[in-house]
Structures are given as C-alpha cells and as structure tokens.
Symmetry: C2
Subunit: 380 residues, 2 copies
C-alpha cells in the first residue's frame, strides 16, 4: 500500500510440530510516537545473523514452496534432534532483519523526529524485512547527501562488529589482533580498518584461495590453518605484530587453543622474564563470536595461566561502552560507507523473491562473496 498505512512483513515461525514456515503478512504500520518515525524500507541485507533467525535449525534441503506469487510461503523440516535448541521460539511468529535503510515518510511530534522527514536513514533494531518500519529516532542514522539506501543498508552489523573488535583490542590493552575465517565479508572490512588505522592484523584462513584474496586487498599477515607449517607461520606473524587478542568465528575444535599456544611462544621468544611454572604474565585472550564449527572448544592449556576464552557479541559490547562512544562509531561508519565499509551484493530481491526456494538455497549457504539485498518495496 503506497500510503504506508499497511505493508508486507516477512515472518518466520517454527511450529511445535517441527515445521518452519516463512511467510509474508500484511500488517498495519503503527502510528509513530513522539520520538519515532515511519521509514519506507528500500534496502535490507540478508546477513548470516539474519539467516539464523530466518531459518532456525531447519534443513534447507527440505524446503517447499506454496502460497501465491503475491503471498508465497516456504516450509521446511526442523530435524528432531535440533528442536531442543528452538524451544525459546516455538509457535511464535517472528519478524526478521536486523538492519536496513530507507526514506522517512512520517514522523512523531518531537523536533528530533521531525528533523528526519524526507531523509534517507540507516536503521538498526530488527523487523527490517518489511515495507514499512516504525522506529525510534535513536535507532536511525541520517545518511550523508549522495548516499543511497542500498549503500547504507549494511551499516551496522558488519561495520560495528569489525570496529568493535579493534575497539575491544584497545580497551583491553592489546596492540594488534588475530581474526579467523578472515576472508569473510567481515574479515575483508576488518583488513580495511586495520590498514587505515595502522593496526597489526593476523588473518587466519582455511585455503590458499582465501589467502590470495586477502593478500590482493593488501593484507600483510595471512596464515593458512591447513598448511603443515601453520603453527610456525602463526607464531612468526604473532611475534611480528605483537597480537595478544583474537576474534574467532569458528568456535569448535582446537583453533582457539592453537592461537593461545602460538601467542605464548611468540611472547617467550622475546621475553627476558625469569622462569615461571605459570607461564608468561602477558594476558592472552580469544573471543569466540561465531559458530562455524559447533563442536566443543578444546583447550589444552600449554600457555601458562594468563589466558581467557569467551563469547563476544556486538550488542553487549555496545551496551558496555555506552551510547556516546557507540555514536562515534556509528558516525564513522556512515562517513566511510563508500570506502572502508562498502558492501557488495550478489543480487537485489523483493520480499517475494526472498521466499523463492532457488534464492533461499543460495543465501542459506552463507558463502563468502554471496550476499543478498532485499528491497521490500521492489515489485515482487
């Protein structure tokens, strides 16, 4: 509906019966409160973090299309063993889409809200896979003149995660960092930030192709965990950069432990400290922020006692640093959206096209270099 009073919204539902159902609902657009605006959403990316909510634990190979062209429905089966992990969301129809951008078409009564009328803004806050989004002003960021909604759609999740890593590094007293699964979109962005800011970055990848890709965009330290010389290469890169903090997207297996072991070896190479049975005093940290490998993390403590492994997530990090410091990061992102934080998309789809099983099969793979953008106001 062009007036914005109602619009389509994508919903993901996992039923107690073990069936995933993705559909489009026609929902009324809420009237904006004083500090809210209504945005006509024109661009919203399908990030790996969105796919988690969109598909849940369903088996994509069982996906079936039904419904009509205007109101398509996808159903798929959730394996019984995976249902326990879904307990928190059963029989609840959930909107999807963390971030997006579009034009403000209606505002609340506050000056801050009114100031956004007609502007193109980036947004964060969920439920972006919809034609209209009523949202608080504080969750909008006006885009600079000449920046399109498509350019501003991926302004939050990847850019702030990458900046959150270098910020965490600084705030916790480290001077360089390690990143795994480093050829991802996020990893490439992190390389651009580190090159611009002069931060040492050790990229860990799992193939020669990924290593070549990163070297081509200027990465100085790239090590391949499949290489027989991995531990030596990693230790050399850690000694070169002085990196003592790592962000790991993989999670399962021994990689976190290997990184800590190599850090300790790199520290001991230059240390003049006396013998201690407890290892070096230099704090070494691995933050796990993803789950590419869901198997258990195996930590064989061959690196003294000054170590930590833990979970890291963007939103708790932002809560910790507070709004004022978070706002500086947001402003940096929108001012560098065409350079450091530029995103590239394989395909722009409508909401209906996002529910096409052929497209679903592609974006559900979460492959590096394959990224879809939804334009909910593109004709289906």
């Amino acid at each position: 509906m062009a007036d914005g009073n109602t619009g389509l919204q994508l919903r993901s539902l996992i039923k107690k019966s073990g069936e995933l159902e993705i559909s489009l609902q026609n929902v009324p657009t809420p009237e904006p409160g004083p500090d809210e605006v209504v945005v006509r959403v024109e661009a919203t990316p399908i990030n790996p973090s969105d796919i988690g909510l969109l598909i849940g634990a369903a088996d994509v190979s069982t996906a079936k299309a039904s419904g009509t062209k205007e109101a398509p429905v996808i159903t798929a089966k959730v394996p019984e063993t995976a249902m326990r992990g879904m307990a928190g969301r059963l029989d609840e129809s959930m909107p999807v889409g963390n971030e997006g951008a579009g034009r403000v078409i209606k505002t609340g009564s506050s000056d801050a809200a009114k100031a956004l009328m007609g502007k193109t803004v980036s947004m964060i806050g969920g439920a972006m896979y919809a034609q209209y989004r009523c949202i608080r002003v504080s969750e909008c960021q006006p885009l600079p003149e000449g920046t399109t909604a498509a350019e501003g759609a991926s302004w939050f999740v990847n850019p702030l995660t990458a900046l959150g890593m270098t910020e965490t590094m600084r705030r916790e007293g480290h001077k360089a960092l390690v990143h795994t699964a480093a050829a991802s979109n996020l990893g490439q962005m992190l390389n651009k930030i580190c090159q611009k800011d002069g931060i040492g970055l050790v990229n860990i990848v799992r193939s020669k192709e990924q290593a070549d890709l990163l070297r081509k965009i200027g990465a100085r330290h790239v090590v391949d965990s499949k290489s027989p010389s991995f531990m030596d290469d990693l230790t050399n890169a850690l000694a070169d950069t002085g990196a003592t903090i790592a962000f790991d997207a993989i999670g399962g297996g021994r990689l976190a432990s290997q990184i800590l072991t190599a850090m300790e070896a790199a520290i001991n190479r230059t240390s003049k400290a006396a013998y201690s049975r407890y290892g070096s005093n230099v704090p070494k940290q691995v933050y796990i922020y993803g789950t590419l490998d869901p198997s258990p993390v195996e930590i064989n403590r061959a690196f003294g006692m000054a170590w930590g492994v833990g979970g890291w997530l963007l939103f708790p990090f932002l809560m910790k640093i507070g709004r004022a410091d978070g706002q500086k990061l947001r402003e940096r992102v929108v001012s560098e959206l065409k350079t450091t934080f530029a995103s590239h998309y394989t395909k722009v789809v409508s909401l209906q096209e996002a529910l096409d099983p052929v497209n679903l099969a592609v974006y559900a793979k979460r492959a590096t270099g394959e990224k879809f953008l939804i334009n909910p106001n593109k004709a289906g």
Copy 2:
C-alpha cells in the same frame, strides 16, 4: 650457625640428563639493605604450589636417598616425555618455599626495618625453606601479640587465594560463587570466609565423604559431581545462590562447561527476557586456577554467548588490585589467623626430615588433610 651469618637452604635442581636432585646448601646470609631484614625462619608450609617447584615433573616413585644425615640428598627421575615442560629451569639450582614465618634477628637502617627487630613476622617471596631469609620489609607482616610462627606460616597462599576469589567475585559484579575440589584446605577456608561474610557458595565435590566433611563445617550448598543428579542439583544450588562465577581447581574435562550450562539454566528459570538465539545477557565466568586434571578443557557452548573461561592466579590478581587494597587483605588474614584462616598440619619436620623419602612420599601426594610444616631451625 646460630649467628645467622650462614645457614642451610633447600635447593631443587633438574639436570639436562633428566635427574631431579633435592639437596641442602650452606649459604651465606646476605647483609640486609636499608629496607630489608633478616628473619630466622621457624615455620614454612609445604603447599601444593611448592611441591610443583620442589619436585617438578619427577616421578616420586623413583626417589633415592643419598648424602649424609646432616646433608641428605634426594634424587629421582624425570620421565623423558615430561622434560619439555621443564625446559625453563634446567640445570638451575632453585630455592623453594613461597611463604613462612619467623623472628627478625637483624635489620637494615630504615625506620621501617628497625621497627621489626625482634618481632615475629609472616613472609611471602620464595626461598623460605632455609634457616635464614633476608627479605624486604614490604614482604613481611608483623604478627599480633600471642600468634606463633607456626600459626602465621600459612598466611598468604591459601588465605589470599580464598580472599582473592571473593574479591574477584565482587569486583566483576557477581554476588555468589562456585568452587570445585571444594573439600580441599583452601575450599574449607573459603567456606569459613563465605559463612562469615554472608556470601552464597556452591561447593562441588567428587565423593560423599567430601560432601559430608563440608556439611559438617556448615556448608549449605554441596553438590557431588559423581551423583547421577549432578546437573539438577547444581542448577538448583545456582538458582538458590545466584552464583555466576566459578573457581575451578580441576581444569581438564567438561566440568567448566557443565557449570556454565547449569548457570544459564538457572538464569533462564527466573528470567523474563524475550527469546534470544544468543542466550541470556548475564555474564557467566569460570576461572581455572589449578590442574588436578591436565587433560584438555572441553567447552560445549550450550549457554549462549555471555561466557568466559580463563586462567586465574593469585599474584597477577594482587598486582591488578594494587598494594593498598592487597594490604587490607593481608591485615584481615593476620587478624583472623586463629579462626577463619587457621591451618592444621599433619607433621612438623626439619629441613633434613623434609628430604626423607618416607616423608616425601606422603606430602607429594597433595592429599586433602595431609599438610607438612617445615621448621628449618628444628634440629635435623
């Protein structure tokens, strides 16, 4: 030598050939600097942390006695596979003994040093298995009138570790804590502190006997990890206390992961927060401070993203909180040496008796309830 100019000092040496040699050396006592004093050591405990340095990776069952009655020597073999871990200390004759107490018999020229003349003091700083110890005033703590050297000998390692746990709990924003291998001397002390200070404590033990022992000294929450209802019992105790930080002496295996899983379950039992794929936002931490099980730590992340596992050691903790706050903890300990922080010993031995293979076989087992005290000035 009664004048204190020279005295016996215990030394531990691991040779490149793979032989451990423990011996007594007659060494000159250094002249105290302005801020130093000389203490005639009268009591110094054999803690598990001392045994690590004293014996290293040697196989105690191969121990042989030689030398004379006045100057006994123990030798033992270090298994070849364990020699790599000894690389940092090879062919270096090392003094042993973290903490002790005795009488000040000589002082440097500063007022602070002179004020200690004739006093009985507790000490920290290594090389306590000796008849005389020249030491900085800042590493001495005068004992209250009526407290003996034997009562003040174990003033630092266990008491400050236990206080370091409750302090870390408070400083990191938790309100109750979990302790594993909880029937140890340290664990019993932690129970006394928590009872006195009104802190919720969940004790995890590995037998019914250990559980009974703790209940007898007033522990309210004791769970047995060998019980079939362990995970339920643990979750109930965590829900009761609200404990979200644990100190684990075991290290290897799945215990840390089980604790985090039970913490998350206890949190979700009362939480009214909306569904999140990332689990609760409540930070959950396990600090590993011991290695009773040297196998890898296995972390199966069934508890969201707000978690951490890491090493914890007393001395880095004390460096972090600074001397002024550390001094408050020291003063609390010496004022409660006969109550909260009382230690009990199986046997008091001379330096020579500490080198008797029969005694070595007993204290090297690090058994709960078996603790030896050395009086280096007891006639051998």
